[in-house]
């Protein structure tokens, strides 16, 4: 049940307990218990909403920044990652294998603000060796959801 529950919630976190119980063929109480357990264990971290900001009048710019750093003795990358993720404008920080170390996603209102963040805050950190900033021009698919998807049932209306 756990995995099926998680995969339903991952696609629709607003679903209510009653419906979840029906879909999973179990009781509401059990669903409730399982979810609070998963929340406590930190398996479920948060419930987000995927928003296409382009359709609002709020301007946002998203950048992916590749960051090369010097790991610190005894703490590896964790310390510097923490320094970076504490900035509220930073949306995600991943440790990456390959040509650079950290991949940072940044969301700001303007290009200038992103430039400012990189030059003033990120690059000036002691352990940051170099950065490379990429701006996102268009989102086609995010978190498994195709943005602007036209759902049209192409099947014949009745088939045996």
């Amino acid at each position: 049940m756990k995995n099926e529950l998680l995969s339903i919630l991952e696609k629709n976190s607003r679903i209510d307990f009653k419906e979840l119980a029906v879909l999973l063929g179990t009781s509401e109480e059990e669903v409730l218990n399982e979810i609070s357990k998963l929340e406590k264990e930190g398996v479920i971290c948060a419930y987000h909403t995927l928003i296409n900001w382009e359709k609002t009048d709020i301007e946002t710019v998203t950048a992916l920044i590749e960051v090369k750093v010097t790991p610190q003795r005894g703490q590896g990358f964790d310390r510097i990652a923490e320094r970076i993720y504490n900035y509220p404008e930073v949306k995600s920080v991943y440790l990456i294998s390959g040509g650079y170390d950290l991949l940072v996603t940044l969301e700001e209102k303007t290009l200038k603000e992103i430039a400012g963040f990189v030059s003033d805050k990120l690059s000036t950190l002691d352990s940051v060796l170099s950065t490379a900033t990429h701006f996102i021009l268009k989102k086609y698919k995010d978190h498994g959801t195709i943005i602007n998807k036209n759902v049209k049932d192409e099947r014949e209306v009745i088939t045996p």
Binding site: V22, L23, L24, G25, D153, R155, V157, I158, T159, P160
Partner: protein
């Protein structure tokens, strides 16, 4: 001018679905729950393989029985899912959908006047294909109180000296019924005793919601008298690729291959290459789809309970088969009225046999959102009918 038409063909009943289809297509923005095919797209890695095969220029005929690789994978698949061993070399033929397999199987074994036992409600093609092959169809009317399973008694009452073939369509379209091992064992005893061949149409075998599907061919003494028919349409959401297969004793498969060779040549080459990948890497994708169907099935069962409409719990395929006898209307009247008043299209049970009067086939090969809206409308419709009474 002479009448050029074949009496046999003219005598076939037109498909009951066709009539209803014409009304639905006229109607704007109706919600249809009338489709007998998956709503999922074919998994991308399967489509990708089809595209790749075209890029590589694999656009020629394959051998009549189908690509060797594909027959080998089919053999593996049946071994790992059903525990039955079929020789890829001469016990398997790849066909244009399960439909062709049904047709050529009947044509390969029927002599004029042989009887074919067909349990109904069931898929629309068994009866006409039997007639075209020269057989006399003998209909067994399945009952809701048996959850539309075929019982030993029902079978025995239909058997005669002339019986040659039983068609065994489980998991079933339109009822969603399944036959479990204990049910099959009863049937197998009769078939062995009376020396009857079984055409087991297992096209929905991957979509069961209780225990895993059991094929009658897996029972002792049955492999040699079973033609197992399956395909890619339902499990892998590949209806448009037109690909199925039949497995059975080599004497029968080789005669089927003869008909196939003259009538069809071979199944579509692109589809065959894609299907090899489906069998090699598709288990996970099938399981994901099965889980989705199961959630929808539970949703519908619950919705029918809330509406108070009688409906046995189906454990296979992607159909539910509610009973509407309380309203004193024929299935067709009910379905037509539902369509006119609430713009929801369902298929009258009678499209699948006269004995399905008083039932509707509702497909859940639709998103939960669609099903929710449709069930809301059906609930409102049923309430209106009850208020009038």
């Amino acid at each position: 001018m002479r009448n050029f038409l074949s009496d046999k063909v003219v005598g076939l009943k037109p498909s009951g679905i066709r009539k209803f289809f014409d009304i639905v297509t006229e109607m704007q923005d109706a919600i249809s729950l009338g489709v007998g095919e998956p709503d999922f797209d074919t998994p991308w890695f399967v489509r990708d393989e089809g595209i790749y095969s075209l890029e590589r220029g694999r656009t020629f005929y394959t051998s009549n029985a189908g690509l060797k690789d594909l027959r080998y994978e089919i053999s593996n698949y049946i071994k790992r899912t059903q525990g039955i061993e079929y020789d890829a070399q001469n016990e398997i033929i790849v066909t244009v959908g399960g439909s062709e397999a049904i047709d050529i199987c009947l044509r390969a074994v029927i002599n004029d006047g042989d009887e074919v036992i067909i349990p109904q409600p069931s898929y629309v093609s068994y009866e006409p294909c039997s007639v075209l092959a020269g057989a006399n169809p003998v209909i067994v009317e399945l009952k809701a109180e048996n959850e539309f399973r075929l019982t030993k008694e029902e079978l025995l009452s239909a058997v005669s000296e002339k019986t040659k073939v039983l068609i065994l369509p489980y998991p079933n379209n339109p009822t969603g019924a399944i036959m479990e091992q204990k049910d099959l064992e009863e049937i197998a005893k009769v078939l062995i005793e009376k020396d009857i061949l079984v055409l087991s149409d297992e096209i929905y075998s991957a979509l069961t919601y209780k225990d895993k599907h059991v094929s009658i061919a897996a029972l002792p003494g049955m492999k040699e008298r079973t033609i197992l028919i399956n395909g890619f349409s339902k499990a892998y959401a590949m209806t448009g690729w037109r690909l199925g297969y039949a497995c059975g004793p080599k004497e029968i498969i080789s005669q089927m291959t003869k008909i196939h060779q003259y009538a069809i040549m071979c199944a579509p080459t692109t589809s065959q290459y894609a299907a090899v990948q489906a069998l090699k890497k598709g288990d996970e994708a099938v399981e994901e789809m099965r889980k989705s169907y199961n959630q929808r099935r539970r949703f519908l069962m619950n919705a029918f309970k809330e509406i108070g409409l009688q409906c046995f719990e189906p454990f296979g395929a992607f159909y539910v088969f509610p009973c509407i006898k309380e309203f004193n209307m024929t299935s067709e009247e009910f379905a037509t009225k539902l369509l006119m008043e609430e713009k929801v299209a369902v298929v009258p049970g009678t499209a699948f046999g006269d004995c399905a009067e008083g039932f509707l086939r509702i497909s859940y090969a639709y998103s939960l959102e669609t099903l929710k809206e449709a069930m809301f409308r059906i609930g409102r419709f049923v309430q209106k009918l009850r208020d009038k009474k």
